[in-house]
């Protein structure tokens, strides 16, 4: 199909979507088999993941090619903007579920366990001080302190939000080498954040006895920071892709939604971290 200038680009039939479906199916099946120690799970999972990565390369590659050959007009660009915004909104709601769980446990269920008949008849002696592991978990743990690495990580992520914004300005002003350098800086900050996060997990398991199994605190701590860390990882990969594209001379001062979409995502990950820092580490 060709696209005249001004026309809304409609892609021709594509096998990438169904490839992605096959990948997810295999991964789901593999995951289930692994969790039940049945044979073949790991293999299925790896094959599925490989297909998924292949699909992403293929699909995004196609999109990038189409974009670079000027097939996307203004209206397509607006579509991408709406699409990315609503996708980020869906991610916000995903995190909302886990923040909701944290709020509920901290403010409601843990206190309830020590109060009234529930406390007296079922859990005598349990006192509900946050961070709590719950009445029947005897394993002691130390909560993660906010003002060490987490505070540092906050600074790192906030800085990375600034560097990517500078990179964006540079792109808009056609200062390509500044763009490339600040993209590099943003990625470096992202990777540092991840490094610290990994170190912190090791520290939690090795020294603090803080694990997924440490009751209410452990579960919410690891689920929230874990999914956030996963999003940082994805965001960093996206940054790397964008950086490589910058190095290849992709994007123009006017036309660079790929860049902006990733920047939005990175800011979103940043904001979620602020929520985490306040509600998980600090308060």
């Amino acid at each position: 199909m060709t696209s005249q200038p001004g026309g809304y680009y409609l892609p021709s039939p594509s096998a990438w979507p169904v490839t992605g479906s096959v990948a997810l199916f295999l991964m789901a099946l593999g995951g289930v088999l692994i969790m039940h120690d049945a044979g073949g799970g790991t293999a299925l999972l790896i094959v599925g993941a490989a297909i998924l990565i292949y699909m992403m390369f293929g699909w995004f590659g196609t999109v990038i090619r189409e974009s670079e050959s000027g097939k996307y007009n203004k209206q397509v660009d607006v579509s991408f903007r709406w699409g990315m915004s609503w996708f980020i909104f869906s991610e916000v709601m995903f995190f909302a579920a886990f923040f909701g769980a944290l709020f509920y446990m901290r403010v409601l269920s843990v206190p309830w366990l020590s109060e009234a008949d529930t406390g007296a008849l079922l859990w005598p002696g349990f006192s509900a001080d946050w961070p709590a592991s719950g009445p029947a978990i005897t394993d002691q743990f130390t909560p993660m302190a906010a003002w060490g690495i987490p505070a540092l990580n906050t600074a790192i992520l906030l800085t990375s939000g600034v560097t990517i914004t500078i990179a964006h300005w540079a792109l808009k002003n056609n200062q390509r080498s500044k763009l490339n350098w600040f993209m590099f800086l943003t990625i470096a900050l992202g990777l540092t954040f991840l490094g610290f996060q990994i170190y912190e997990y090791g520290h939690a398991y090795a020294d603090l006895n803080l694990t997924l199994e440490s009751g209410a605190y452990g579960a919410t701590f690891f689920m929230l920071t874990g999914f956030h860390g996963f999003h940082v990882t994805v965001g960093t990969i996206m940054l790397i892709v964008i950086w490589l594209r910058c190095l290849k001379g992709h994007f123009t001062a006017e036309h660079h939604f790929g860049f902006e979409g990733v920047a939005w995502y990175w800011h979103f990950v940043d904001v979620v971290w602020l929520g985490l820092f306040v509600f998980v580490y600090w308060l």
């Binding site: 594509s14 579509s79 694990t211 209410a216």
Partner: protein, 524 residues
């Protein structure tokens, strides 16, 4: 907004099965959604018949209790996620681009993926019946901690829900973007057909609600396998936490099912009344208020968990409030018919069936919203009756209305009107035989999700089971009508419905061409 010019789509058209697998055409994808939905309706329906067969009389006759629970679970999930939701996404795919004058959906490849995520999810669900321990027998609500006790079937179910959620979210993003960004010049928001409005609002609900469900089942998964204690009091969690998260999704979900149905009916009733929709603007506002309210009432499913009484009062008042915007819609539909020039072809019959029976289902919802009364009726067949009124006689009937209404536009052939009328009358009669009596069972105290019951409930259960088999058989007639129309239906006139006035009827030939509106129409 820039104009959309002609495209040359001539090359690269795979044929045979690959046409469907690789397609990026909204009409192809809509068709696949609709057939998938119908297949799932059959599967879920047969499961319902297994339930009704077991419940035909007291005692265990047909299946084991575990298997009964598995059927209940899969029936609920498959009907909701496999039959009703995809049916309306199918309508959205076919209709939205045509109704707003767009060449296709905003993201055609993504659109294809939204559909092709469904078969793997459905396969996981069906597969779960054949793994050791069988499918999960936890109800479609998947309450913890029963979910923690289940076997492999539960994990398959969890991943199926994840994939279904992805499909819904991607599909919704596509729909929202299409509506916001692809309207033809002159098609302002307040000129959009109501069906488009309802889908915009539904898609918003989906994007907001589905990720929360994903979060809920993810926590279930980690509680099962990774030692977390979200839903375990011993670790400071609470089984009721699951219910809060689930229903934060679950209540909007029921409007996700209902609102597109409102949309279809809002197209059909004016067409057959030969009169514009009464109170268009207030319909839009009412739908939006329903959507907003739907996030504020979730705990009306949890009146018996022992919330503080203040919370119960709040949820009761908020829930009752939904009757107001829903009432506005009902009144507007009746006012649309008022002093019109009505005819009663099959689409109109199903729309009227919807109007009548959905309202009754809404009334029983209102009864349930009253906490003291719900304490008696919660988890009884009264609730089962309530939601089948709104979902079967509501959403499903509306989907039937939509199929009969748009089929001529889609395939360029007419269905058999006499048989269509038969389908309607058989459906509405057997529907009521099946589900009306369930109100009495619930009032008398029959719990739901039980494979066997005490002798007092026998008569109504027999009636209900007979009705269910009748209703199921009537749907075979629907299949026959469809096949007959597709294979040997009479050629449809350009505009089969005198009163239809949206773009697809006024600006496109019948059947609609494979690519419509490559040049956008100008809407006055």
């Amino acid at each position: 907004m820039e104009a959309v010019h002609e495209h040359d789509h001539s090359h690269d058209h795979p044929s045979g099965i690959m046409r469907w697998v690789k397609t990026t055409n909204h009409k192809d994808i809509g068709t696949m959604y609709l057939w998938f939905s119908f297949a799932m309706f059959m599967v879920g329906g047969v499961m319902a018949l297994i339930l009704r067969a077991e419940l035909f009389q007291p005692g265990l006759q047909v299946v084991e209790p575990e298997f009964f629970n598995q059927m209940t679970t899969l029936h609920g999930l498959i009907m909701v996620f496999g039959a009703i939701m995809p049916a309306f996404v199918g309508f959205a795919n076919w209709q939205i681009p045509m109704m707003i004058g767009a060449p296709d959906m905003a993201f055609p490849r993504l659109n294809n993926w939204s559909f092709w995520l469904l078969p793997p999810a459905a396969t996981l669900l069906v597969l779960s019946m054949f793994v050791p321990g069988g499918a999960a027998g936890v109800g479609w609500t998947m309450y913890a901690p029963l979910t923690v006790q289940q076997g492999m079937g539960m994990d398959l179910l969890i991943f199926a829900v994840h994939i279904l959620g992805m499909s819904s979210i991607l599909g919704s993003i596509n729909i929202i973007t299409t509506i916001l960004n692809m309207r033809a010049p002159g098609m302002t928001m307040m000129k959009m057909p109501l069906f488009v409005w309802t889908w915009l609002i539904t898609a918003y609900l989906l994007v907001a609600a589905m990720p929360v469900l994903a979060g809920a089942v993810t926590m279930t998964l980690t509680d099962r396998h990774f030692g977390t204690n979200f839903f375990n009091a011993a670790g400071g969690g609470d089984p009721v936490l699951f219910q809060h998260i689930f229903w934060f999704f679950g209540h909007p979900e029921v409007y996700i099912i209902a609102i597109p149905a409102f949309g279809v009916v809002s197209q059909v009733i004016p067409a057959f009344s030969r009169k514009p929709l009464f109170g268009y603007a207030s319909m839009v506002y009412a739908t939006a208020s329903i959507a907003i309210l739907s996030f504020l009432v979730w705990a009306h499913h949890m009146y018996t968990v022992g919330m503080p009484v203040e919370a119960q009062l709040y949820y009761m008042f908020a829930t009752m409030l939904i009757a107001v915007p829903t009432g506005v819609k009902v009144f507007n539909w009746v006012a649309t018919m008022w002093r019109g020039s009505l005819t009663f072809e099959t689409p109109m019959l199903f729309a009227l069936g919807f109007l009548f029976l959905f309202t009754i289902g809404g009334f029983t919802g209102l009864v349930l919203s009253l906490t003291p009364v719900d304490v008696q009726l919660h988890d009884t067949y009264y609730v089962v009756a309530h939601f089948h009124y709104v979902m079967v006689a509501g959403a499903l009937f509306s989907a039937f209305a939509g199929v009969y209404f748009w089929l001529p536009k889609w395939i360029g052939k007419m269905y058999d009107e006499t048989l269509g009328k038969w389908h309607f009358w058989l459906s509405i009669i057997f529907f009521n035989v099946t589900f009306f009596v369930q109100h009495f069972l619930g009032l008398a105290g029959m719990p739901r999700r039980i494979p066997d019951y005490s002798l007092q409930f026998t008569d109504f259960n027999m009636i209900s089971s007979i009705g269910a088999f009748g209703f199921g058989l009537s749907q075979l007639l629907f299949l026959y009508i469809l096949i007959k129309a597709i294979r040997s239906g009479e050629k449809a006139p350009e505009k089969p419905w005198e009163g239809a006035d949206t773009l697809e009827w006024t600006h496109l030939p019948t059947p609609a061409p494979y690519h419509s509106f490559e040049t956008p129409p100008t809407v006055k």
